[in-house]
Structure formats: C-alpha cells, structure tokens
Assembly symmetry: none
Homo-oligomer: 198 residues x 4
DNA sequence: ACTATCGGGACCGCCCGTTAGT
DNA sequence: ACTAACGGGCGGTCCCGATAGT
C-alpha cells in the first residue's frame, strides 16, 4: 500500500477545504496563507509543498467547483431529454444553490479583479465562464432547432440566461432573507422561457 | 468667501477621484492608501484628515455613484411617461454603461465580502441595491396596474430585471470583446418584456 | 528651525551606521532588515521610509565609503606633489586601513555575487572600482610622463597596483595575525615601484 | 564489486557538481539546498544522507578544488626546474584562469563572512590560503638562495605575489571586458620579478 | 489644512532540516 | 540508498494609521 500518496492526497484535500472555508468567510485578500494552514491543521511547509502559492490554491478550488457542476450537469442530461426541460431543470438546481448560500460565485467575482492583472491567471479564471456559456448555448441551439424557442442567436440567448442566474445568485447573497430566491429563480426562468417561446 | 473651505473641498474631491481610479485599476484590496494619496498628489496626513480610512472613502464613493445614478434616473422619468418606455430606456442606459466597461459594479462586488463582516458598513453597502430594487419595483408595479404586464409580484419581477442587468454587466467585464453587449442587453430586455406581457 | 529635516537626517544616519555594523558582522545576506532596525533603534516603517530596501541601503553605504576615501585621496594630493610620492603615500594609507581590520572590502566582495544578477545594481556596484582605477591610472600616467616610471600602459599598471592593494587587504582579513600587514604593504609597493622604475 | 557504493559515490559527485554550478551562478547565500538537489536531480533526503548541510558541501567542494590545484602545481614542477621559471609558469596558469572567469575565488570570498563566525569552519576555510602561501613562499625562498631574487623575507614576498594574483582575479570578475587580463597578469609578474631581482 | 516621519504588525514566499515510508 | 511529505520559522516588503511639526 502506498501510504505516501494517501497521506498526500488527504493533506491536499484538507488544504483545499480549509481554503474554501476561509475564502468564503474572509474573501480572497482577507484570507492569509497562515490562516488556511491553521484551519487545515498543516504547516506552511506542507502548503507550499502541494501548491505553488495562494493563487494556485484558488485556481485548484475553481477546478473542484467545475467538477462538481459538471457532475450536476451530467445528471441533468439523464433525466430530461428535451432542451426546454433541461433548461427548466437547470433553474431548479440554481434555485437550490442559492439556498445553501453559495458564496462561491462571490469569491469568484472577488478574485476577478486580481486575476485581471495576471494574464496567465486571467485565462484560467475565465475558462469556467466560457464553459458554461457554451453549455447553455448548445442547449438553446437545440431548443431553437426543435422549434421550442423563437429563432435567435443562441450565443446571445445563452448570455442572457447566464446573466439571470448570476444576477440572482448575487442578490441572494446581498439580501438572503429579502425574498424566497428559489421561487424568484423559478419565475425568472418562466418569464425567460415565455419570452423566448414562439 | 471661505478659501480654506474651498481648498479643503477640492482636496477631498481629488482624493475621491484618485480612489475611484485606483479601485478600478487594482481592486479594493489591491489599492493601498499610499497609492491613493500618491495618485491624488496629497500626503497621508491629508487623507486621514478628510477620511477615517479606506473603507470610509469607499462608502463616500458609493454615495457619489448614487447621486449620479439618481440624476440619470431623474432624466429617465422626464422623457418617458409610461413604465414600459422607461424600462426600455433604462435598458439603453445599461447597454451604454457596459460599453465603457464600468468597473463600479465589480469594485462594489469586491467590497461586499469585506463589508459583510462589519454590520455597520454592511447596511450602508446594501443601500444602493435596495434603492434600485425599489425603483424598478415601482416601475413594474405601475406597468402591471396599467395592464402592460402580466399580473405578478412586482418585487419579484424587479429582482429578475436587476439580475439581468447585473449579470450582463459582469459578463461584459469578463469578456468585453466576446459580444456586442449593447445588443445583448437590448434583446435581453425584449425577451423579458415579452415574457412579462400578457 | 526645521526639526523634521534634522530628525530625518539623524534617523537616516542611524540606519546607515547600524547597517554598516551588521553587514560587517554578519555579511550582506546574514543581515536582516529587522536586525538593522533593531540595532538602529528604529521601526521598519522608518526604515522603508528612508530607503527602498536593503539593497538600496547597501548602495548608500557604498557611497558613504566613497566619500570618505575621496577625502583621504584629497588629503593625499596636498602633501605630496610628485606622483611617486603620492603613490607611496597611498601605500601608507592602505597599510593603516588594514590595521583597523577593514571589513568594507569583504562586504563589498560578498555583495558582488548578488549585484551580478541585477544589472541596475551591478552598474552602481562597479562604479567605485572604475573610479579608483581611473585615479591610480592618472597617477601612473603622470609618473611615466615625468620619467619616474618605465614607459608602459598606465591602465595596465593601475590594475596591477590595485590588485596588490585588494589582495593585501583580503589577506589581512584572512590572517590578521599572520603578518605585519603594514610592513608587507610597504614592501609590496617598494617592489612594485622598483619594478616599474627605469 | 560493490554496486551500492559505486552508485552512492556517483550521487555524491552529482551533488557536488550541482552545488558548484549553483554557487557560481547564485552565490553561496543565493543558493538553496532545494536548488542544488533539483540541479543534481536528487531528492533532499539524498542530500542530507550524504552531507550534513550546505556548509559541509561547500567545504567538500573546497577540498575538491584543492586537489585540482595540487595536480596543477605538481605539473608546474615537472617542466620548470628553477624557481623563477616556475613562478613565471604560475603566472601563465593564473592568466588562463582569469580567461575562463573563475568564480571559485569569489565564491570562496563570499563564504568567508559566513565561516568567520564558526571557528571550526574557519580553520578549514583558511587552509587553502595557508597551503598556497607556503607553496609560493618556498618557491621564493629557493629563488633567493639561488641568487635570482634580492634577499628578503620569503613569507612577505609570497604574500605580495598572492595579493597580485587575488587582486587580478577579482578585477577580472569585476570588469571582464575591461582589459586583456592575461596580458595584465603577465606584466604584473614581470614587474614583480624585476622589482625582486638584484 | 497639510506634511514628513515614524511605529508596529502582517503577509507571502521560501528555506533548512527531519521524519515516515519505499 | 533514496523519496516524498512535512514542520516550523525567518526574510523582505508593504500597509494602515498615528504623531510631531509647519
């Protein structure tokens, strides 16, 4: 049995978990490497053994989120066969996300201003956006081809859909008690769907 | 005339201008007080003479933005008399804002994670959101009363509208060259209006 | 009276003095900014107010040494009118320098390996060498013109003279008790002078 | 044959080679153990298995240099029988050394300030100096006995000769393109020999 | 009102050396 | 003999804010 690899993987996970928690609580800049280490119960040596720096940890976190979302999306495709149904299902997922106050988007947004100055990080940072934009675009494209939606530029529509999701998540963070965001999300998708229908 | 007071006010403005510029370029956390002072051409003493700290400067900036937006909203009301027209006009303004990539929203978002830990600042920080939520809500309310929109909870609808705006602004920042965001905004509002119509 | 400027200058000097002492005792890399500050009885804030960093402090020290040596050289010119006499006088100064174990040259040498990687610092670092090389060269040139020395390339001779000085200083540091370095220096110059004579 | 022992010795050599290269490129303090390991293609464990630390590696390197120089000196003695000829031959070797800018002296010098605080290392560090001082001293001694040189204290003269060599090597490092250091070395020895002659 | 000087703390990155494991 | 993971600490830099002085 390879104990090294096991232990290493565990430590790596602990660091990522701690980082996620710290970032959510204090933001990207508000979180020091020392705090992450302390939260994870590891030394700085371990931290810098597994990651090149704070920024890399963040990017790794981003990838972890992506994997999670990819899984959810995969699940999405299994239950629903037609694009409209899948878009509707997506809305439900997003609605649930905003219940468990999902700080991830905010952390992501907070990180943007940093990454904007570092071309290399910037590319990695934008990737998830492009990814989901493409995913939604294809969904919309299919919907138009099936005649469910009014003919339009699928890319444009996808951007509108994503805008709605982003905007609702942010508001859900800004004013969690101000509304039943799950319902708002539902209705938002309904309006969008109706507005896109023939 | 009190020359001292004039000069003082000018310095205050210079600091605010410098802060706005620095925040836009380096983000909230990436901007140090020293940089603001340097940009403004003032000493640190002057800075702390006028403001209690960086956070207060940000709040002051926020108020300045609010004043500007209030003016724009006022203008909006003058030219268009019916709610639908005003909502449409609003879309045009937002579309133009995203042309000149307006970093204000991003700075605002970046600041959120900080303010979240300070209840006092948190209240002040959320104010602009409530203000515009209420503004749009009333607009929608009128539209429903006039029969232009399908009956629904105006507050909910307003949140959906604002979500669209926020989401588009962020995407415009993420991928400025990726789309003609003015057109996307236009179409977004069209779909929304159609989806809200009877 | 300008108390600010006075205090500032005093602090700056204190830092420089402390740095000189620390560098001599622990070498360039072995000396931390914290130690310099502690030795000088100043805070890090003060340190970084006066200097951009450790490297800059070192360069400032270098300049201070240069000023001192320039003064000594000036003195040299007053008492001796002919080049040979001045060269001989120089030997006496160097001999005395090696008594008060002069770590400056060693610190300088230790710094070389650092500066070699930073072109900007490298230039500043080499300057003192060029300076004294030129000084000795002119002295030799005059000596040749006066017929005191055998005709030769003054630059080459100057490099040989400087080599002797450098090498003796280093050995004086390596083995302070091993010889009466003042006498060695005297004899070294005598041999050189004799070897250069017609 | 013991393959283990062979392999071990090879690893030891690889580490020494890597260390020499790293020291030359980054100086003593600028070189971390990690860098040496990486350059050698070995893990840190291997490093600390063979050496007690960076300092010990340096001392081992020093010994390796000494062996090399001893060989060169041996060669020197074979071709030239009279002391003057051997001194002249030595000058040619040194001249060639300074062509391929030999950083060893600089590394050595950089290390001095460190070793100065550790009496044990200090002794080992000074050894090479004493060794060559003695070598040159004997050479000079023989020269005087043969009547080639003016009677004088051989130890003093040897220190002067070594000073010239050291000083020229350093200057060759400081300003490699500034002169034809091989020629300068030649002339330096000529002057010295002339100055020492009867 | 405004400046120059200063205090002290915190952050990120790295380094040296050790230990558990192969 | 050698690897990979890890511990703990230091290093330079910068930052926020305060104070002494103009």
């Amino acid at each position: 049995v390879n104990k090294h690899q096991q232990r290493s993987e565990a430590t790596r996970s602990r660091i990522l978990d701690a980082a996620e928690q710290c970032f959510a609580q204090n933001g990207y800049d508000g979180t020091g490497v020392a705090l992450i280490c302390q939260t994870a119960g590891v030394s700085k040596g371990a931290f810098y053994h597994h990651f090149e720096g704070k920024q890399v940890v963040f990017l790794a976190l981003l990838n972890r989120w992506l994997s999670t979302m990819d899984t959810q999306i995969q699940t999405l495709g299994v239950n629903q066969t037609n694009p409209v149904g899948r878009l509707a299902a997506a809305s439900r997922i997003v609605g649930q996300l905003s219940q468990v106050p999902n700080e991830q988007l905010l952390i992501y947004l907070a990180y943007l201003n940093k990454a904007a100055r570092d071309p290399k990080a910037w590319q990695a940072t934008k990737e998830p956006y492009y990814r989901y934009q493409a995913f939604v675009r294809d969904l919309v494209h299919d919907g138009i081809e099936e005649g469910a939606f009014h003919p339009a530029n699928p890319a444009t529509i996808s951007r509108i859909v994503i805008a709605l999701v982003m905007g609702l998540l942010i508001q859900g963070y800004l004013d969690p008690e101000g509304a039943d965001w799950e319902k708002v999300t539902d209705q938002g998708f309904n309006i969008l769907l109706k507005g896109m229908g023939r």
